[in-house]
Symmetry: C2
């Protein structure tokens, strides 16, 4: 049996975050000690590590809840799990594409050398006028 602090140390998930995950239904409400403190079994450690890893990879709480539910049924087909993962990959790729456009524009914008006045500053002028941009964003 682990206390919430043990769990936190072993998984790197902060204590309030663990309680938050409980509230969000990612982990079950655990047994309590006589003094009402949470006492976890070893299996919760793995579950929490799974959650942490999935969060680190950017999956949403909702997706993780679904994946955890699926993982309770090892005999079922895994199409749904694969769908969640590849949809997330698509989302990540979209974000990258969008950020790259921003990067391009910002690269042009910051070409101002910083040695003149605000009135002449390319940063300020470029922000005031989107038509100076090379692509949509």
């Amino acid at each position: 049996m682990y206390s919430i602090g043990d769990l936190s140390r072993r998984t790197g998930v902060k204590i309030p975050t663990i309680r938050y995950y409980e509230q969000m239904g990612l982990i079950a409400a655990p047994e309590r000690s006589e003094g009402n403190q949470r006492r976890y079994e070893k299996s919760e450690l793995e579950r929490l590590a799974f959650i942490r890893h999935a969060r680190d990879l950017g999956l949403s709480i909702d997706s993780i809840r679904d994946l955890l539910a699926l993982s309770q049924h090892p005999e079922r087909p895994c199409g749904e799990a694969d769908r969640i993962a590849s949809e997330h990959l698509a989302t990540v790729r979209e974000k990258i594409a969008r950020l790259k456009k921003l990067e391009q524009e910002l690269e042009r914008i910051v070409a101002c050398d910083g040695n003149h006045t605000v009135g002449d500053c390319y940063v300020i002028r470029a922000l005031a006028d989107h038509s100076m941009c090379e692509n949509e964003h």
Copy 2:
């Protein structure tokens, strides 16, 4: 004089968002009609377009507030504006780098063909075990 709806149509910023920007101090509280409705001058149109463009480029409300304050002083040196922009560019680059790592891992993870069981699913196993990952994230 423009109503808030006019301003919204011309800048593409939604009405509640304009009110929110007023509350956040990005635009000044405008004059009011006899019936207490907001009436804007033309200059607010440009200011709002500036804000919108800067938001589209991912700048924070705080940064935008600073940039707007700077732009009121065209005779001052522009080093601060340039610093804000290049710091933001650095942030964007960090995000891209991080997302690319995620993309790599997710690409490997979704290599599962979806035609077997959850128990054998690479997606599920990879999420359960970060040591299967090739880099930190």
